[in-house]
Each structure stands twice: as structure tokens, then as C-alpha cells.
Symmetry: none
Subunit: 263 residues, 2 copies
């Protein structure tokens, strides 16, 4: 599991927090740190706060966009401090650990996103996530320091891993529902980028048939995104949905014009 | 429980850590901070790192000896990073939370001790404890930052408290994920018959756009049914999907003809 989890920090302001996150990661046995457009990195303050976890900083991957940080991941999770206009599937760190542990039984990768110190993740970033993780903090003083949040989440992941070692002898945990993320499903799950291309194709098609007006988007695409990301589409389902969009565009006379992600 | 737990920091070197502990405590709903002979307190660095938890710092009780900090407590717990020469009863933070929760059902008080940044608690201090708590960290890089350790321990205490509230209400189900079937979702779930009408409408539309041939159905509708039933559609999502089908049929010139379930 430890090699399959990426911790992604977005637009971090204070290099000290990046160092503290590196230390927290290494304390919990993790090592893969992605930095999306950090304000200052590398930075001696980060080195100093890492307290010896400089190998994590040295290996950290700096990218300029969220897309690069989550490419190839099966599951994208966003740390969220507060309720949102459109509620998204949300779990606490313990339930997240259960999900991640079960998902990483094969070679799937998971990205967990942490936002800016002052403002967290943007709505757009949160909508890129399959699910949100919320640390059940004091409602009157709810905002944890960035590195503290990473510590709590990675602590739960480690606890789950250790628990599974204990249980390996006789695991009696029955999954409530079989989904494409479980072994025993018939088709491989779609990747995050395949789902993203489908969502772009969907939006284009909805414009073509005059259902969606990008000038007055309301919450349409956010609601459809939430729906299809919640499902954990498998590859065949995704191909079917793409096929439906192609047929729809053919009927509308727009197929082959400029559909993004068309093949 | 929250008022019955004292967090005791012994000989803390860096005032920044005292501030970070104050913030962590308040985030988790705790407030009682004892400082045994801190190197520098009060200190503006502590204020700054507390990020608004200055009330915790203002109320902090500074004492010169461990005895004063633990006076009157029923249970004294020491945070311990490593195995000791004389093995002491040791629990992880989750098991500690269970102990503390059960002990504080009456008005008993508990002290949890955290030692110096560089050297932790002395053997003498550890021997004053009924119990040690150890965060199961990476054996190759085991030493957590002081405030991180406080965060993890108080997080577990809070989780135990929240779990007990749920159990009290008779709901022992820790929900794995928020979905349209849970309270807290923004829109009511669609009923089974609404989903059924949508699936009929979907099939009709797929025929209209020549995507689906009922003479050679393969597994198409079964796969789409499994997908949309797995999602637990809410009423608004269902309306959006029906709207897309209507717009598709309009483009195909079949809307209003004989679509089953059309309104």
C-alpha cells in the first residue's frame, strides 16, 4: 500500500509545512510526495522542518497542474474542511483507510489532495475527486494545520495496514457491496483520466444537443461529474457510455467535428 | 470527557511546538494544557503557531514539577517512542482512547504526558505513568514531532467520543460513505419505479439513435442497469438524465412519438 499512495499538496504557501509533511509521511512509512505549484521549493526551511526526512523532499515530484499529479490514479481523494454546496461522498480518515486498503490490494494507485493553508482546495479541485475526506474536528475551530491533517490521514492508513497484518490469518470482513474496485468484478475499473475524457465528451455532446449552455452552466456538470465519479465506472461501462455519446453526436450531425477526446 | 483530560508538556524547548499543540488541542475539542518548566513561555512564537487558539495558551497552567501537573488524576499516561528496559503496559492511541473514554464516565481525570522534543520522557517520568502510549510509526524513522503526536492522540480520543455518541443513538453503523441514501445528501433519492422508467426511456432512446438493436441486445441494457442502479441516483440526477434523453430524442426527431415513460 505504502508505494501506491501519493500525497499531493496544492499551492502550499509555507515551505515549513512541506518539510513537516515530509516528516509526517516518513514517520508513517510513506514516501511519495507530489507538489503542485508550491510557492517556494526547494527551500532550506522545508529541509529544516523535515528533521531528517530529506530523502522524501529530494524525491518529491514538482508539477504545475493537478492533472499531472493524479494521472494514472484509480482513486482521487480531497481533504475537505467544510460542507459544500453540492454534497460529495465524504468519509472520515478511518473509513478512507478501509477504502484505500481494499483498493490497493492490486497495483492501483491513489492520490490524496491537500489544499492551500488558508483556503484549502477550490471547488473545481474538489470536484475532480471521487470522494472527500473530512477530519471530524471541533466545529468551532475546525481548520487543522496542513501537516497535521496529513499526519492524521496517514496515521489511519498505517493503522489499517497494521490491523490487516493481524487479521490476515482469518479475515472475516465482508464488503457491503461489490464494486468495480473489488476483486471479483468482471471488468477492470476505468482510470481517472479515462473518466475525465468521458466527462469532456459528455459536456461537448450536451452542448451539441442544446441541453447544456456553458454560458449558464448552473450546477449541471458538477452534478453529472459527482454521479459518474461516485459509480467507479469500469472500462466496459465507460466504452458503452462513450459509444452512446458518439451515436448521439452522429444524430446531431456533430460527430467528428471537434469532439474532445474523440478517437 | 474533554474537560477531564489534561495534556502535559514537559520541558518543551521550542515555543512554536507549544503553540502548535494548543491549536491541535482546540481542533480536537480539548482545552486543558499543562506546561512543566517550559524553556520559553509565554512567547510570541507560541502565539503565532497557535493560529487563533490563544485562549488555550492563556489558560495554560505553568508548573515547575510533574507532581503538580498530575495531582488529582486517576490515570497518568506517558507518550513513549521506543521500547524500554523494563517493559511497561503500552497501548496504541486507539486503545488508549477506549481506556480514557471508559474511565471518564465518572468525574475522573486523566493526564497524558509528552516529553522533550529531543529526548522524550525520562525513565523516571515514564515510571510515574500507569500506562504508556506508543504511536505505531515507521521503525526506521519513528520520532514524531511533539505536536503531531498530540494531534494523533487527541484525534483518537475525539473519534472514540463521536463513536460513543453514534452508539448511544442506537446507530452502530459507522457509515462508509455519504451517498443519496444517507441523511446529509442534498436531494432525495429516486424511487425504484422512477429509475425503472428512466431505464425504459434510456433503452427507447438508444434504439432511436441506432446504438441499441433489441434483436441483438447482447448485455447492453443489463450493464447499463447495473451501472445506474449501483449509483443510487437522486431525484435531481434522474431528472437531468431524463432531460438529456428528451433532448437527444428531439435531435433524433423521435421525441413525443412513442417514448415509454415520457411526460
Amino acid at each position: 500500500m505504502f508505494e501506491q499512495v501519493r500525497i499531493v499538496l496544492i499551492n502550499t504557501s509555507h515551505p515549513g509545512n512541506i518539510g513537516a509533511v515530509a516528516r509526517a509521511l516518513k514517520n508513517m512509512g510513506f514516501s511519495r510526495l507530489y507538489l503542485v505549484a508550491p510557492e517556494s521549493f526547494p527551500d532550506p526551511i522545508a529541509e529544516s522542518r523535515a528533521s531528517g526526512a530529506t530523502d522524501i523532499l529530494d524525491k518529491a515530484i514538482v508539477v504545475s497542474s493537478l492533472d499531472e499529479a493524479i494521472a494514472g490514479c484509480r482513486l482521487v481523494v480531497g481533504a475537505s474542511a467544510r460542507g459544500r454546496k453540492i454534497p460529495w461522498p465524504v468519509v472520515n480518515p478511518r473509513d478512507l483507510a478501509r477504502e484505500v486498503h481494499s483498493l490497493t490490494q492490486d497495483d492501483s494507485e491513489v492520490a490524496i489532495l491537500f489544499g492551500r493553508e488558508a483556503r484549502g482546495l477550490t471547488n473545481e479541485e474538489l470536484h475532480r475527486c471521487n470522494l472527500h475526506v473530512h477530519i471530524p474536528s471541533n466545529p468551532d475551530f475546525s481548520s487543522l494545520n496542513l501537516a497535521m491533517a496529513v499526519q492524521v490521514v496517514t496515521y489511519e492508513l498505517r493503522m489499517k495496514y497494521l490491523e490487516s497484518l493481524e487479521n490476515e490469518a482469518g479475515d472475516s470482513n465482508m464488503k457491503a457491496m461489490l464494486s468495480p474496485q473489488d476483486s471479483g468484478w468482471d471488468v477492470e475499473p476505468a482510470s481517472v483520466d479515462e473518466v475525465e475524457m468521458f466527462l469532456e465528451h459528455l459536456e461537448r455532446t450536451l452542448i451539441d444537443i442544446d441541453f447544456h449552455d456553458p454560458e449558464h452552466p448552473r450546477q449541471l456538470m458538477a452534478r453529472l461529474r459527482r454521479l459518474y465519479q461516485r459509480c467507479c465506472l469500469d472500462k466496459m461501462e465507460l466504452n458503452i457510455l462513450r459509444g452512446i455519446l458518439r451515436s448521439t453526436q452522429k444524430v446531431a450531425g456533430t460527430w467528428g467535428a471537434q469532439s474532445p477526446g474523440s478517437q
